[in-house]
Point group: D2
Chain length 382, copies 4
């Protein structure tokens, strides 16, 4: 597909997801890590303006000079910015103004791309589109977080339940000990943190074809999983007690029956559906309870060609650290991934909220071990 | 004026003020003490529904049973409620739904009032209207706080500058020592905290006809007022240092000139206009610097018949405590005033944001000594 | 008594109280507001060194120049100092070094006082001795706080139970409405905050001869006093819930029987003894439950000539604010009282931990409404 | 050496280190992670009492039943315990009582060990002695922290400067790509986290023989290392800004010259001595500035046979995670290491504060990336 068409298609998807929202929904920030929808719409636009139009389009006039301060996310090289926690304090610019901003930048971009052949620019646009897709996933999870914490549990759309998938296979895969090659080797797009193809030595292991289900996890809860300190990492046990956790995010026990908030509203938990919204500590405690363990990211990557993945981001037991020979880009784009390489765990795969064609088996997602507002799941290794 | 007309007029004023807002503005909460406009619109409606329609209108059906949880402010007797800090986390119900709620309740109320003669009910309606007027003032100050903390300083309305008033007189008033009677003695409406008419002994004092101006306060700032600990109460000095305060709320020094945010946008400070948005600690430090003092609430009440007031809520040096023979009502309405009688200072008068006919010389307003988002000012006693 | 003798006697009492401590006890700080005993011993010495020896004794050499930084409490005019919360982080100077410091300063002081006739100096010494006595009371309450929060409840001294006093009278006193004079009128020592003798108008009131007992308070607890929000001030109710309070400080319900920590160890609560260690919120809620109220500080002062007081500091319903014509001294000693006149309530009387001859009926003690580690009690007004 | 002798020797070393302290020094806790010396002396004794005497010595009577609550560190399986942050709030039991406790337990232990042949018990004693040695290192670092944060910088001992070592070699070591075996393979003592000998694939790398010196680090500081965000991990940059960090722990710039606190007092920084007291973020930023990197823990382990180590705990770029086939023991001793495997980075080697014979090249130490009160250093990889 021509890059302009791809640009148009992907950019439109962000707005399309928001079409079911009311204006008030665009503006709210419930928690520091979940940004308001209008902020996502503006920030992804700022990304194209800042990294492509301003440096490469001759005589480009910025839409509004204040927007660099308002819509920079975390790029120190791109200047000062509002605190992440304050994104929801800005009722202005309004959603309408931000949609105008998108139109303004898109018009310039589409013109600019029409006969574009410069490899540097094309690579930046592809990066910008992948960036947009990452924010499309955050739009879904951030809206879910906002609605899931509203006591009246608003329905995003009656036909938008992302937590109903079931496992389609059973059994497990056995991988033999030996040297394996990991990291991205193709010619398409990948992030810098996937590069540095290298060899790793893996021991024999057996990994399940199936993801843990809600029913499995209810067994864990009912057998006292949240009260047995021997199952938990020390930090996890502190998290459980400080926050009085007794079930996954969005779960509510109503009249002795488990319910969860979905984007289609509050529903009974489907025992056979795949579990989601657990954090690393919960994943780890569950594995401990099962007397099994999480895969490392390399075990996962090697085995992933043999099982079906993509419904849940899967927690691994690997910390997010640089590959050998990892090279950080200069300037702002070097801040995209590298600077987050501490205190985070790697997730592999993709989820039901991930845009089409956005993931691959070498993709490294990463979150704090206490976070669970992504569609996270769990696959066990014996 | 017939009560129905008065009801209609006052209720309409709340919505009228909001007519200059965009939808996003209705939903945002920037700080715990400043609620979103749509919350104010809903809460004042809930007040009539809860204290009049539900107990007194036969067969009344509540608009939405969830609203009691969402829009109760602080009445423990009226049941559980969301935390004050979470009022801005609720994008739903939308503004449109809340306006429907207002219409629903207003229709019932107007019907109910048409031939209403029951004194208890009439008194409750008048209380509800006074309550609505208090929230009208909060609407103004809360919107100002939201816009004043947005880095792009949105304009509420180009012709809505509430901080431009000047003193119209000079000189001072001398009050002789003796016994004076204080507290509300009329036949109209007053709050329970004004009752308990009683006598107090006052010493001789002389109180200024004028309120402190911006120019006076700039002198204080420029002579090092914010850095001289001898001028400050201990709690005030902690507040200055913890928050790195160097000027009143909304003031910004831009290119060595003082500006302030007004509802008409950012403007140069008018040196001759009356100072506002100072807290008790600042008022006290300024008085100390002038070698004068604040009046007590009783000095103010006795002298107020002789000077013009109503532009600023005026800090007094009286703690908010019960009058002799103060009687708290039973049930939820007993929570209206009495339970706040600790850690607060009394303000007397009214401000440019106060609704017409809402104040009187016996009115006792009260805030924490660190708060300054109301239109607060300062009158000195020699 | 000659001033030198008085100096010697009072200074020795501080050390005498500490003679029952082990060295570790001198160094610990459990909570910000309760200082380590060795800090009290040093700070009271620093007071004489700073305000008398340094300015008035020719050629005086300070014992150790670091001590000004370490042992200044809150006098901004006397220079920088360690944070109050860090007083317990300093194992050095050791107790032995601080006792040397005391000896050094006392020797100089006693010499200096021998033929001293300068009124300014004599007044400062008397202030310093009153200051020492205030810290003697804090020594008792701070040691009690430290031991009372140690899970093994150490015994300070087997014969040092300060909470065993009973009421010796019954009945009440009726005071007639009228103008009364309040404030210190004698020739002896008083603090600046007692000055400004002035007139107040009091209404008729009736005040009890007796202080509330433990048994009275157990009735309050057992009738649900800590769970009925209607009895509490709003700030008090927040305090109860945030801290899960269900009984006074130092009380423990063991096998369904109330015990309290005393300086003689953990004991069963004596129902007939006078209640202590309640804060203002608890005092207020109890009065509300009894359908009575606390006296104001002026009611107390006027009535105090008629009842026996001195066993408990008694909470009043007066905020700590300046008297008319209050004059703050210049310099550091002006910080002694005046700067604390916000967010505090007045207590009147004295307690079993107060040094002899240290109090009088005009004495104004003041604490935050949430504090209860002093020997605080409660007298009711009808 | 016979186990009894070893027991005696190691136990005596803990007390010997404390012999230079004053009694006040034993009791203080300045920060949550650094415990009071008397707590260390008691806790290591509790370890022998709890895991050996109570389960294995027939008719053993505990010294004091309260001590289990007071001196358990983090073993959930061993029951409730005081919060770590409250260890310094307990002036009692006194140091003298704790030394009695040591004598009591040591007497029982030495008796019990005399003809002991039970392998389980002998292994537990060896674990207990290694545990004691870990606390000996903490005694040094915790006392340094306490004294280093006292504004008068007490001298522990005039001849106890642990930061004066210099590098004795230069150059670097080249390790070829290939499969290497890691993990403990000997017959002596090791911790459970070193077990699971396994193979890893390493790429070619070159590691320096020398540790980074103070002079090297001063270059980093003076070239703006603490202000260039591009050098820092995102969490590190937050740490720098939140804490206003501009130099390593214990460093002070006095009259434009760098000084540091040592256990022999405040001294000028020796430019040629080996750097210490940097955290992981600082180590990482320094490596980034040098355009080099930290070794992984396996690179370090493989190369360590070729260079001299043991002066500083060396930060690696490996997260602390379980080895393949890691097996956690059942019960309390399973909590020794395994539950801390999240949010920590591995350090390898040993330091000048480590007891003799306590470390080995497979030893895995671990701390939070923000911690630097251990004698931590840095070795670079090209």
């Amino acid at each position: 597909m021509h890059l302009s068409l791809k640009y148009k298609e992907i950019r439109e998807q962000s707005v399309a997801f928001c079409s079911h929202l009311h204006i008030e929904d665009y503006a709210i920030q419930v928690v520091q890590f979940a940004s308001p929808p209008k902020w996502h719409l503006a920030h992804t636009t700022w990304f194209f303006e800042t990294f492509i139009l301003k440096p490469y389009l001759k005589d480009y006039t910025v839409f509004n000079p204040d927007y660099n301060f308002l819509f920079n996310s975390y790029y120190n090289n791109a200047g000062d910015r509002i605190l992440q926690a304050n994104r929801g304090n800005m009722s202005r610019p309004t959603t309408a103004e931000i949609l105008e901003y998108r139109t303004y930048v898109d018009t310039k971009m589409l013109n600019f791309l029409e006969h574009q052949t410069d490899k540097t620019i094309i690579d930046l646009v592809i990066l910008g589109l992948n960036h947009e897709q990452q924010h499309q996933e955050l739009l879904v999870t951030d809206v879910k977080y906002m609605f899931g914490h509203n006591p009246i549990f608003p329905v995003y759309h009656s036909d938008y339940n992302l937590v109903k998938d079931h496992n389609s296979t059973t059994g497990s895969i056995h991988v033999k000990a030996g040297i394996y090659t990991v990291g991205y080797q193709g010619n398409g797009f990948c992030y810098d943190n996937e590069l540095g193809v290298h060899q790793v030595y893996l021991n024999d292991f057996e990994i399940l074809n199936t993801l843990v289900t809600n029913g499995d996890y209810i067994d864990f809860i009912e057998s006292g999983g949240y009260t047995d300190f021997n199952l938990w990492l020390d930090d996890g046990w502190s998290w459980v007690n400080a926050n009085k956790i007794a079930a996954p995010l969005y779960w509510h026990n109503i009249d002795k029956e488990w319910h969860y908030y979905t984007l289609s509203g509050l529903q009974k938990v489907d025992h056979d559906a795949i579990l989601t919204h657990i954090n690393y500590y919960e994943a780890n405690a569950f594995a401990e309870w099962k007397d099994m363990r999480l895969p490392t990211e390399f075990e996962w990557e090697v085995a992933a060609q043999h099982f079906r993945w993509g419904k849940r981001w899967e927690w691994t037991n690997s910390a997010y650290l640089p590959y050998p020979n990892f090279v950080k880009e200069h300037g702002a784009l070097g801040e995209y991934n590298g600077k987050f390489m501490s205190n985070k765990m790697v997730l592999r795969g993709a989820s039901v909220a991930t845009s089409n064609h956005h993931s691959r088996s070498t993709y490294r997602n990463f979150f704090n071990p206490s976070e669970s507002w992504q569609f996270t799941g769990l696959r066990l290794v014996k």
